[in-house]
Symmetry: C2
Subunit: 352 residues, 2 copies
Amino acid sequence: MRRTNKHTSCYLVAAFLSATILVSCGGSTGERSATKGVVQDGTEATTVAGANLLPSWGDSAAKDAIVDFVSRVTDPASPDFVPEAERIATFDNDGTLWSEKPAYFQLMFAVDRVRALAGEHPEWKDKQPFKGVLEGDLEAVAATGEQGLLELVMASHAGMTTTEFEEIVRDWLLTARHPELDRPYTELVYQPMLELLDYLRFNGFKTFITSGGGIEFMRPWVEQAYGIPPEQVVGSSIKTKYEIRDGEPVLVRLPEIDFIDDKEGKPVGINSHIGRRPIASFGNSDGDFQMLEWTTAGEGARLGVLIHHTDAEREWAYDRDSHVGRLSRGLDEAEDRGWVVVDMKDDWKTIY
Amino acid sequence: MRRTNKHTSCYLVAAFLSATILVSCGGSTGERSATKGVVQDGTEATTVAGANLLPSWGDSAAKDAIVDFVSRVTDPASPDFVPEAERIATFDNDGTLWSEKPAYFQLMFAVDRVRALAGEHPEWKDKQPFKGVLEGDLEAVAATGEQGLLELVMASHAGMTTTEFEEIVRDWLLTARHPELDRPYTELVYQPMLELLDYLRFNGFKTFITSGGGIEFMRPWVEQAYGIPPEQVVGSSIKTKYEIRDGEPVLVRLPEIDFIDDKEGKPVGINSHIGRRPIASFGNSDGDFQMLEWTTAGEGARLGVLIHHTDAEREWAYDRDSHVGRLSRGLDEAEDRGWVVVDMKDDWKTIY
């Protein structure tokens, strides 16, 4: 329980960007339109089916490694061939499929939600951490520690039915805008990763999200954004309870952590929801380390990829010292482990 | 926690068939070969695509209701049309896809496992409930109550890695035989339900198992038996822990209940793993009541089906008074709720 609270509050601590608190933790979550990659008609010579589905990827060792892996596992004549049913690929979300700066987008949601609910909770005016959120006093919020931050999550994510929460998330995404880029959050998904998802599916892969973010925060929008259906989303969760209200069955979201899908939790979540080991995993932070470790320790051809945020001009540049999406051990060990590191600045022609 | 233990031990109490203990609870789990239904080439006039995939179903109101439902949700011109991505169908396993008498097959596994491990546990000779299992004294086992029964589950299902457990289950299924029918358990899957699974998939449905049985007890064999991949299996679970052993990552199965996928738990498990409400659900006991309730309360065309065990000659006949797969409330309310009740004796030409 202690571990649970600690991990959960990571998202919130990170959200408030308190420079005095250094926390490394995994991901959380937000929509976009283009699911289908653009299929170019052979203007580029390729040896692998669908490799021309990656127009936003520049020529690089990273792209070559990905295409080579896909070539080997899909070629029936290759010793590395993998039957289609076992071509499972898992993707972290925050920082891997969409941006996560200045804070996890799900945190922006939590803050907006607390503000929206303040009218129904007059007591929040005098009670931390809500008082701090309402007054924009993030130091006061941070001072409430993990317990206070957990209260924020529960106040914004629990107490309603699953159907109601889905509507709340959808409505928020329609109006909320990124504080710095002034665009809907769902426009901040990475074009090269959309192409990669399509490319893998074109080659018989089943693509899953495996995020530290809330599973029910992601499901309302990821099908449209990434072409990944709700049943292929793994994430952190709170408990739900089945009950009959006014003669109708509902699932009520309870203020109690069920599962934290981060770090050592990622292989656990993968086992619980997917039930077989992926052959390819994609992440961007040390919260993804164990997922890549689990995936690449399997027998046969395996692919582990880390997206390295190196582009301060077009996106954000951060790694070892970042409060959000910290990447340190992954950078240290990637080479020895044979993991591919994608340099966003050099390897991607387009970001969004 | 109390509720958890109670549900878990249901399986074991039922297993031992103690006539003095009346427990109603959901399912648990075993393999078979034929996944693909036999497609007949139009010898039977049908208006619905693939309805000739149901050769083991006699003409009946139950079959008509199923075919009519599928017709309506797959016809783009129908007001009840459902897009393919939303055609989710969930199936209980024990008593719905395969037999569950004289006790849940997973219980037979637990008992066999305790016997196999007895050499490593000399203390079991003098300690209940193990002593009772080893001596065949089921009354003594039942007398240990829920706590004793939970000990049996944990002794047989926990303490090994997920990979090891998968091999244990596979090995058991290769040699174990049903005590009365003297056949491998995986030959006790219902032919009409195999055809129904194929028929639904032929019509764009995604088929899931949603069983009270152990999720990791089912996954090793259900893909071959039913054509349902591991990632489409929902069930009861114990917790797992990620750790590094001798430099290799493993997931260790812990002696701690994680989730019980029975009764009110079934909609919770569906929400957690699938993330959208099914449009069709199939069960056979009151452990499936809430799943059918949840499914059929949704908007638009919905299908709820209960398999009624009425065939004492070819299988077993039981319902309201059975310790395993008790069906009472379902029978009382099926008509009012518009649920289809399949009479195994009259509606099925073949059982296995």
